[in-house]
Amino acid sequence: MASHSDIPNSAGSQRRRAKKGQAEAAEKYSVLLPTYNERENLPLIVWLLVKSFEESGNNYEIIVIDDGSPDGTQEVAQQLEKIYGSDKILLRPRAKKLGLGTAYIHGIQHATGNFIIIMDADLSHHPKFIPEFIRKQKEGNFDVVCGTRYRGNGGVYGWDLKRKIVSRGANFLTQILLRPGVSDLTGSFRLYRKEVLQKLMEKCISKGYVFQMEMIVRARQLNFTIGEVPISFVDRVYGESKLGGNEIVSFLKGLLTLFATT
């Protein structure tokens, strides 16, 4: 393995060369957009992503993983592919709804970037924060950068008091029990080094909110470094929320499992 670095064209020497001059050109960011019934939101989020990346000048691709949405999200995605080009918009659909976790795994397999950005397609995560994620990553050479609603200028829009209390309460309990050193564990707006995300995906078994939480806990266990960027979270305007009633119960179960096993 060590002898690899002696080969002139190895990844190591490429990285070293990149450091000297065109660091910007060497980095590529793959955005994973899992969609299920996001017909109205998908064009908007793609438009905002393209705008953000063109303004910041970073190299990117957008991977849309649609799980056979009955509302025709896939058809809209095909139109977007035509408009923006198949080098920028990559469609990697699956036949039926198989869940978020496996959608990410599926997406990574097709990603050509060395960094992966994970975000929701429902416009709660605004692409304008991506340049800040990238800046933060470079600043501390972080393995993971997490968006946080709970720190600095971060926050939410469109939440009633009850949802705020539940969110804050769950977050407080998590901080006390797990002491993760990250302020927002259930958010899913994050940037990962590709190989780090791959490794974490192998380790994480939980679903839903707990999955996002477990990713951070495992990242800590594996001594990966994590940075944070405050984000504003605007509740979805279009489409249906998949937030179920038993969400809180499964969250608590997952939290206690992590508490007892990690």
Binding site: R39, E40, P43, L44, W47, L48, V76, Q79, L80, I83, L123, H126, Y150, N153, G154, G155, V156, Y157, G158, K164, I165, R168, G169, N171, F172, I176, L177, L178, R179, S232, F233, V234, V237, L258, F259, A260, T261, T262
Partner: protein
């Protein structure tokens, strides 16, 4: 050590120290007054922890930003995006 074990062992150590003092297991011979102070310590600890939790929670709730401007900006951009996408030939 798991987080659960960390919590358990910390609590266990605290409890043992407290028991030692209350029962005077080391035979240091405290005055009755000292004993009276030591005895309710766990209750104080519980009350303090509870107040801390409620206080922090309330403070964080009060400081939870409402991102009015971000929402406004997003709504404007949605309109801009819809117009631009329509001009690029997107049919919804």
């Amino acid at each position: 050590m798991t987080k659960l074990e960390q919590w358990m062992s910390t609590l266990l150590v605290l409890m043992l120290i407290w028991l030692c003092l209350v029962q005077d297991l080391l035979n240091l011979g405290y005055s009755k007054k000292f004993h009276d102070v030591i005895l309710p310590l766990p209750v104080y600890l519980l009350v303090t922890a509870g107040s801390y939790a409620l206080g922090t929670l309330g403070l964080r709730l009060a400081n939870f930003n409402d991102c009015e401007e971000a929402a406004q900006e997003l709504f404007m951009q949605i309109q801009e995006a819809q117009a631009d996408l329509a001009s690029k030939g997107l049919i919804l």
